[in-house]
């Protein structure tokens, strides 16, 4: 296609550091016209590892679904390099979606396909590469998450944590410029989780991939995330935004410090 695509993955040399890539603008998040979060706004810059944090039922995954165009918000906008995904449909939505990869909470692998076929599928649909090349790329993605010895296995033959890692490999198959990860470290052992954090940092730093991560896992937050928004159910919106380490150490809001320091009695107060 000859048309210019502002979201096309660009090398680090061409990317303006710090440019706003994703803009969440006055978003009322919820389902069927009922908002659970009011007037949420934040920006995500290119190459940033961005975290959406909050308690259970706080609307983190709902915001993610609005951002990837799965569920329309009650109102508001989500713009990717200026293009609004809210209200986009048909080819426009498909083009926007092709630019990002999504790792779902459960891995969401196709049960009738081997891990190699799962990861190969998006490459097959979009790249037009020779078969051997597609297999090689799929094996490399699986090697990144430590699953290159399980390429011929079906999802039902591996553990839940391994399924999740394969889900990440599939999300990275086309080297998208933006990766959305929904609870990537839940169900993973600490070593695999730390490996995943390192992979995230490496991809962000070397390729300028932008990560949007919904997570509860504080060690992962401090290890890999540059900036976060912290959502609160009672406040129906964002109560803090910034570097998670700074928020933990010096936020004036006791709820924020309590969240990052895992102090339930102060969080309740």
């Amino acid at each position: 296609m000859a048309t210019h695509d502002p979201l096309a993955a660009e090398g680090p040399a061409r990317r303006t550091p710090g440019e706003v890539l994703i803009e969440v603008d006055h978003l009322y998040a919820g389902y069927d016209g009922t908002a659970i979060l009011d007037d949420v706004s934040f920006n995500i810059r290119a190459g940033e590892v961005f975290g959406i944090l909050g308690g259970s039922g706080g609307g983190k995954s709902t915001i993610l679904k609005h951002m990837i165009g799965l569920v329309p918000p009650v109102s508001g906008h989500v713009r990717f390099a200026g293009e609004d995904i809210v209200g986009a449909d048909g080819e426009e939505l498909e083009r926007l979606r092709r630019r990002f990869g999504v790792m779902y909470q459960s891995g969401a692998l196709f049960g009738s396909m081997t891990l190699l076929e799962n990861v190969r599928l998006p490459i097959e649909v979009y790249s037009g590469l020779p078969g051997d090349a597609m297999n090689l790329i799929a094996r490399m993605k699986l090697a990144l998450v430590g699953l290159d010895a399980f390429t011929g296995h079906l999802p039902s033959e591996i553990s839940g944590g391994m399924q999740k890692r394969a889900g990440i490999a599939r999300a990275m198959a086309l080297d998208p410029s933006i990766l959305f990860l929904d609870e990537p470290s839940s169900g993973l052992d600490p070593i695999t989780s730390a490996t995943l954090d390192a992979t995230v940092r490496r991809l962000a730093e070397s390729l300028g991939v932008t990560f949007v991560i919904v997570t509860h896992d504080l060690p992962s937050v401090f290890a890999s995330i540059d900036r976060v928004v912290l959502l609160d159910k009672k406040a129906r919106g964002i109560i803090a935004e910034g570097d998670p380490r700074e928020l933990r150490d010096s936020s004036p809001d006791p709820r924020v410090r309590a969240f990052f320091r895992r102090e339930p009695e102060k969080a309740a107060a």
Partner: protein, 370 residues
């Protein structure tokens, strides 16, 4: 765009100079040429010069790895790759990712497949026998202690199995009566024997078609639904949760469904018989047989024993449909396709069993002169 230039140096080396972006959209333009350049000079050492590569993602790294990992007499080396891309390349062991170390399992020999299929059939028969025992014990337990039955579940399933199925059962039976009447009346009219169509419809609907058609409809509708519902519970580990709570999945999940089917199927069979007769009667009015005459003829041809022969079958069919649906649900394996497979198996084995049992009834009635 990506470009490739091939230079043979005087010292015998071949240089493949890559230029531009190497990503999943552009790398295919140089992939085959790069391979050919290596194959054309099997004895020459090759240097891949990546100085002019200004972007390289996973697909680009895959090309480099593919070149390094080629099995050839002279080595292939990568030169002048930018440090950021070098970092990406170093993540992989080229020799390891270049080949599939976990190839898909090849298809088993035919004889092994036959053996496995036979073992699976034997295992299924054993499970069915075990299930019949467990279900009998659970129903006996429910009979002795009715307060232990989850009656709310029973009424909920009754609504789905009975009330919700009524329109489809009524429609099919009505049309069946009409079709039977029409198909048989045309040839019988030639002999002036169209009044005996009432005998045919009365006997066939009450003894055979009413119970069998209703049961087949329920096997497709409710049997599949039971298998899918319990199968989903199995996949979501709800059945495991029931077991670890010390509850018996057969008593907890199967008993309410079987009781509901036992209550509703005979009622649906009665409706089916009635609607079949109504359909036949209406058709016969167009052959100058009034409804009253039709009903009088049915009354004279069909005895109470004929009615009971059909009616009793409905209870057995109810247990079969609900039982096989629940069993297939409980047998569900892991994976998204497993629930669909269970529903399909519930319908297929349900219908086969219905027809087999109906045949056994026919033989038994013949021997007993019913």
């Amino acid at each position: 765009m990506a470009a490739l230039a091939i230079n043979d140096l005087p010292d015998g080396r071949r240089v493949l100079a890559l230029d531009g972006r190497l990503d999943s959209n552009t790398v295919r333009a140089v992939w085959s040429d790069a391979h050919r350049a290596l194959a054309d000079a099997p004895g020459k050492p090759v240097t891949v010069d990546a100085a002019k590569v200004d972007y390289c993602d996973g697909a680009g790294v895959a090309l480099l790895i593919d070149l390094i990992a080629q099995e050839r007499a002279a080595p292939v080396e990568i030169a002048n790759l930018k440090p950021a891309f070098e970092l990406l390349l170093k993540q992989f062991d080229p020799k390891r990712v270049a080949k599939d170390i976990d190839p898909e399992v090849k298809r088993r020999p035919a004889i092994e497949e036959i053996g496995r299929a036979a073992a699976a059939v034997w295992k299924d028969i054993a499970e069915q026998i075990t299930f019949i025992g467990e279900l009998s014990a659970a129903l006996f337990h429910a009979l002795l202690r009715p307060h232990t039955v989850r009656w709310r579940d029973v009424w909920r399933v009754c609504e789905r199995v009975g009330v919700d199925a009524l329109p489809i059962v009524a429609l099919i039976s009505f049309l069946l009566g009409m079709i039977l009447a029409f198909q048989s009346a045309v040839p019988m009219k030639r002999f002036g024997a169209e009044i005996f169509v009432a005998d045919l419809i009365g006997l066939s609907m009450l003894r055979e078609l009413g119970p069998l058609m209703t049961a087949i409809l329920l096997a497709g509708r409710s049997g599949a639904a039971f298998a899918a519902e319990i199968g989903t519970m199995r996949v979501n580990q709800e059945v495991d949760a029931i077991t670890t709570m010390g509850l018996d999945p057969v008593r907890f999940l199967v008993t309410p469904r079987v009781i509901a089917a036992l209550l509703m199927t005979p009622l649906l069979v009665l409706f089916s018989m009635l609607l079949g007769l109504v359909g036949g009667a209406i058709t016969m009015t167009s052959f100058s047989i009034p409804v009253v005459t039709f009903m009088k003829e049915v009354e004279s041809a069909v005895s109470f024993t004929d009615f009971m022969a059909g009616f009793v079958k409905s209870f057995v069919f109810a247990i079969l449909i609900a039982g096989i649906g629940c069993l297939r649900g409980l047998q569900t394996a892991a994976g998204a396709s497993a629930v669909g497979e269970s529903a399909t198996r519930a319908v297929v084995s349900g219908i086969i069993l219905l027809v087999v049992v109906d045949g056994i009834f026919a033989v038994a009635f013949y021997i007993l002169n019913i």
